[in-house]
Structures are given as C-alpha cells and as structure tokens.
C-alpha cells in the first residue's frame, strides 16, 4: 500500500507541472501596457512611407533638399513616475521610414501601474548595447558601424540630395560612434528626456514625434554645403549631430 501511495505522490508531482494562474501575485495596482508610436514630420508636415521620397523641404540654413532614406535606432525606454520609480523596457527600436510596420514599438516586458510618468530613451545605443556584431537583426539590416570608426551600429542613416533647385548634390547624414583619432573612439549616444508628463490611466499608445528638420537646426545650424558626405569619420560632425538630436523628439498624443 505504501508503494501505491508513493507512486500516487510521484504522479501528483509529475502532473502538477502546468502553469497555474495564481503563480503571479496579485499586483497592488492594475497593470497597464504601453505602446510607443513614432511619427515623423518636417516642421509639422507629416513624413511617412508615402511621401518620404517625394517631399521637398527647406532646412534651417536655407538649402532645399529631398529625402531618399531615413533609418534610426533608439533604445532603453524608461518611464519614471512622480515617486521616482522607474520602469525599464527591454529591447530597442529600429525604424525605417520606408516601412510603416517599424513605426510602433511594443516592449516585451510590458506592464506598469497607472500614474503620471515622464519618458526617456537613448538615441542610438549606449556603451552597454553598442557591441560590434552583437545584434543579429541589425546585422541582417547591414546597420553596422565600421570597426575602424569604433564599430557597433549606426544610430542614424539619413540620405538624400540638397540644393535640388540648382545643382543637386548628395548628403549622407549618418551618426554613430565618434572617431577621436586612430583607434581612439568616443561614445556618441544621447540621452533623450521628454519633459512633458504623461497621464497613463489605461493601456496606452504614446506618440513620440520626430521633427526631422531639427537635425539641421539647433544648436548647430547645419550647412550642407560644408558638411554633406563622409561625415562618419568626422569627429566634429558626429558631435554636432549628437547635440542637435536633443530637440528632434517630443511627445505627441496619448491614446488610451
């Protein structure tokens, strides 16, 4: 009889390995999920996959320009509430303006209590993430930054033509690790902190707006006639893009 009981107990153990709904403790507050939706504009004119290649715009320095390709990387999204509690979201967001399926970012670990938050994220990758060759999805997109420039990944690839009204010339406005001198590199990511507060009451879609024109505006008025191509190995150009990206993003509407 003892044997039967042993087997029965053993069977209980074997068959009791399913997922129980009560494994997770009941949260103190209901959790809500957030989605980040990136929209893009040039000083208020929407730019998306439909008009990326046709929109003709004027930058702060007065050059008339078009856009062929715009891809960028942001990472380490953090929402911080009024108590100073931070909620970190895994993953990174690689956006290709030609592909609207890349505009939204739904973090995998996704659940925060309702509350009032501020948002910050990293432009590009910080030194913990910007490891050469470490991200197969980005390698597959040939998003790598050359090893001779410090390796890792592009933060931005923005290509097009300027002076399209006179003699069009290419620009390759690319951003990543800065080359100080041969084999000496400087991290070049930017911490983006959006000052507005976000009232999150329910599952929410948070719009983050990118004003592309700001890359050429503030604090450095960009003169494409001087800095148009081969910017990747140019230390000053890299640091100027890093400075200008600070005003590129702002909060849009929250849908919940």
């Amino acid at each position: 009889m003892k044997k039967i009981i042993s087997i029965f107990v053993l069977a209980l153990v074997i068959f009791s390995c399913g997922k129980d709904n009560d494994d997770n403790l009941t949260p103190a507050q209901p959790q809500v999920a957030v989605t980040f939706k990136f929209t893009h504009n040039w000083d208020g004119t929407t730019v998306n996959s439909s008009n990326l290649q046709t929109e003709v715009v004027t930058n702060a320095n007065g050059e008339i320009m078009n856009m062929t390709r715009l891809r960028y990387l942001v990472s380490r999204f953090i929402l911080t509430n009024e108590n100073g509690d931070s909620f970190n979201f895994d993953g990174y967001k690689f956006t290709n303006l030609a592909d609207e399926s890349t505009y939204n970012f739904v973090p995998e670990n996704n659940g925060i209590p309702a509350g009032t938050y501020s948002l910050k994220f990293i432009w590009g990758f910080n030194e913990l993430d910007n490891i050469d060759g470490a991200h197969p999805d980005l390698n597959s997109a040939s998003w790598n930054w050359p090893a001779m420039l410090g390796g890792g990944y592009h933060f931005l690839q923005f290509d097009g033509m300027y002076n399209v009204n006179t003699t069009p010339l290419p620009y390759n406005f690319h951003n990543g690790t800065a080359l100080v001198s041969a084999d000496v590199f400087e991290q070049n990511f930017a911490q983006i902190t959006l000052p507005s507060s976000l009232e999150i009451t329910n599952n929410a879609t948070i719009e983050v707006k990118m004003n592309i024109a700001e890359f050429f505006k503030n604090p450095n008025t960009w003169d494409l006639n001087v800095l148009d191509t081969s910017l990747m190995p140019n230390y000053d150009a890299q640091k100027m893009i890093q400075a200008n990206v600070q005003s590129v993003f702002s909060l849009g509407t929250i849908t919940q």
Partner: protein, 356 residues
C-alpha cells in the same frame, strides 16, 4: 492484490500521458524533414532564413526540385533547364551578358547567381524585385517567351506522363495531382539548399586563416566612407550575405532606359533601381550589373571610382557622382579587388550535391 493495484495505476498513468493522436491517422506519404544546415557564421551573425510555413524543406522535396532544376523538360522544346542559365560552375549564373532563350532570343537582364536565397528577408526576387517569394519567382522563366517559352499546362502534362516524376511528386507532397505549385515549391526547396559560406573570408572570420596584407587593406577600403564606401549596400564582416538585398540606382546611366524597380512599383522615384547583388563568388559570376555591361571586376571597380553618371534617382550613397566616383588609386583598386575575391567560395561551385 497490491501488485495488481500498482500495475493498474501505472497503466492508468500511461494512458493519461499517451494522448497523442498518432495512432488514429491514416498512412500517407510523408516526406522526411531536412532542415537547412545553417552555417555557424550565419547562425551567429544574422537572423534565421525564411522558410515558408507551407513549404518546409524535405529530403524528397529537395531531390525533386534538384531533378526539375536540371531537367530541360521545363522548356517548350526540351532544350533548356534552369541550370542552362544558372550553371553550378558559375555560382548558378552563366558567363553571357544576356542569356539566350530556346528560340535564340536574348533577354534584357543578366542571369542572377543563386545562393543564400533563403536569407533574402524581404523575399523580393529578380533584379527588379518583381516576384515575391522564391516559389513565385520559379513560376516565371518557364513561361517567359524569351526564356523557356513554355506553358505550365504543357509542363504538368509532361510530368504526369513521365516514368519517374509522378512517384517523386507523391513522395515529396503526398498523393494528388501534379501541379505547378508543387513543382515550384520543390525547385524553391532545392534552391534554398544552395548555401555559400566557405570563402577565404568566412574562414578568416572563423579564425582558420589569415588575410594577406593586400586583402586586409582591401577590406579597409571597402569599409572606409572616404574611399570605397561599399558597405552601405554590400554588407560588412558582420553581415555575411554581402548584400542588403535592396534596390539602388548606382549611377550606371545618365538617361535611364530600363527603369527596373520603377516598372514594378509604378513609383518614378524607383526608376533605375536594381537589387544589390551579393559580392560572394565574383570570381565565377562575370559579367556584372543587371545588364551584364561590365565584363570584369576591374570594370566594376573603375565604374565606382570614376565612371558614375548622374540621373534624377541616383542613390545619394553615390556621393562623389559630381567627380565621377570615389577616385581610388590604382593600388587601392588592386587591394579592393583582392579583398573582393576573398569572398569567393570554391567549395560552393564544386559541391557535388549541386551537380546534376
């Protein structure tokens, strides 16, 4: 009694766990799964290949696809197979500028080499990207009037009356009619096995060989935005495909006659754009470009160095178009060429599995 109870209980446990429905299915021809062997470098560096959920790789499917690929039965007059213009020794292209079809007519595009096709993540095939998926691509040449100039009805009828094909189709796809969908699925399965990942440069990345100083310098030119700047479209040591599989106008003509991707999308901004080919196996794939205009790799390098021509849709990555190109020195050109040739894979073109 105790024993009886024990055995009864064990039997009960067995029944509880034996709830799969294997025993209830009728026997049908079931092909044997043969997943792609992903090269270690690919597994480490890039995301998984694209295998359609409705066309898994199987031993029988691959074997059927291989037989079809090499069989002139697909062409109207039984003279041309896929392999006629996609020859294994040429990394599955041919050495002509334009391939000659069964009626002696020339196509307008250079035959594309075939390898690592399952890693074309956007699945846009042909120079102009007009076919989505390898299965759909394989439908086209059979009926193209300047290629095999056949109809699929004729092909299917021939396959049905063939002494071997009906059994091969049953083995690969179960019983049922032979149709063009099954035929192209099989061809696509075979094509996905054409994996090239054993070049000198691959082995360098794996730590098995050293690059020569000339090849090393060539890689530096390739990766230098101030010199070659090849990497924005053609991969880099972290992307062993050596292509972005995207579409660019690379400055071949001032006046564009073949509009390429633009004819497929209908967007004038896409006129003159063609897919970046992989730089693997250049030793075997001349001539080059979508129209095979360059007979040699030197011609290609000279084009990017001083032969660029401006046009409204030229890719801005052709940044020195105003100067005609990136102006490489003769030494840089020679070194770049040495590096590019280190991406060629002799074991791929000599692989007996890929021969008829």
């Amino acid at each position: 009694m105790t024993k009886l109870l024990t055995y009864s209980f064990l039997l009960f446990c067995f029944l509880l766990t034996a709830c799969s429905d294997e025993g209830t299915e009728e026997y049908v021809n079931k092909p044997t799964a043969q997943p792609l062997e992903i090269p270690p470098l690919f597994a480490q560096l890039i995301i998984n290949p694209v295998i359609p959920f409705d066309n898994p790789q199987t031993i029988e499917g691959i074997a059927l696809g291989k037989k079809l690929f090499f069989d002139p039965i697909l062409s109207a007059n039984n003279t041309q197979a896929c392999a006629t213009c996609h020859n294994p020794q040429n990394a599955f292209t041919d050495s002509s500028q334009f391939s000659v079809g069964i009626d002696g007519n020339l196509g307008i595009r250079n035959s594309m080499p075939l390898f690592n096709l399952a890693w074309n993540y956007d699945e846009q095939f042909f120079w102009d990207g007009r076919s989505f998926s390898l299965e759909h691509q394989a439908l086209v040449p059979v009926e193209d009037p300047v290629e095999m100039h056949n109809t699929w009805e004729t092909v299917i009828s021939r396959l049905q009356q063939h002494p071997e094909y009906p059994n091969l189709f049953s083995a690969a796809f179960g019983d049922g009619i032979i149709n063009k969908e099954k035929a192209t699925k099989a061809i696509a399965q075979f094509e996905r096995t054409l994996i090239s990942a054993n070049s000198k440069f691959d082995n360098y990345l794996l730590g098995l060989v050293e690059l020569s100083p000339q090849e090393t310098n060539g890689l530096n030119i390739f990766m230098d935005e101030d010199r070659g700047d090849c990497f924005h479209c053609h991969g880099n040591p972290n992307n062993p495909l050596w292509t972005d599989n995207m579409f660019h106008n690379n400055g071949l003509d001032a006046t564009i006659t073949d509009i390429g991707l633009g004819a497929f999308t209908g967007d004038p901004a896409d006129n003159g754009k063609f897919k970046s080919p992989s730089l693997r196996n250049l030793k075997y794939t001349a001539p080059f470009m979508h129209d095979g205009r360059f007979a040699s790799l030197d011609d290609v390098i000279n084009h990017y160095s001083e032969g660029l021509k401006n046009s409204p849709t030229i890719d801005p990555l052709m940044k020195k178009v105003a100067q005609g190109g990136v102006q490489l020195t003769n030494q840089d050109k020679a070194d770049l060429k040495a590096f590019l040739l280190s991406l060629s894979d002799a074991s791929f073109v000599n692989n007996p599995d890929f021969r008829n």
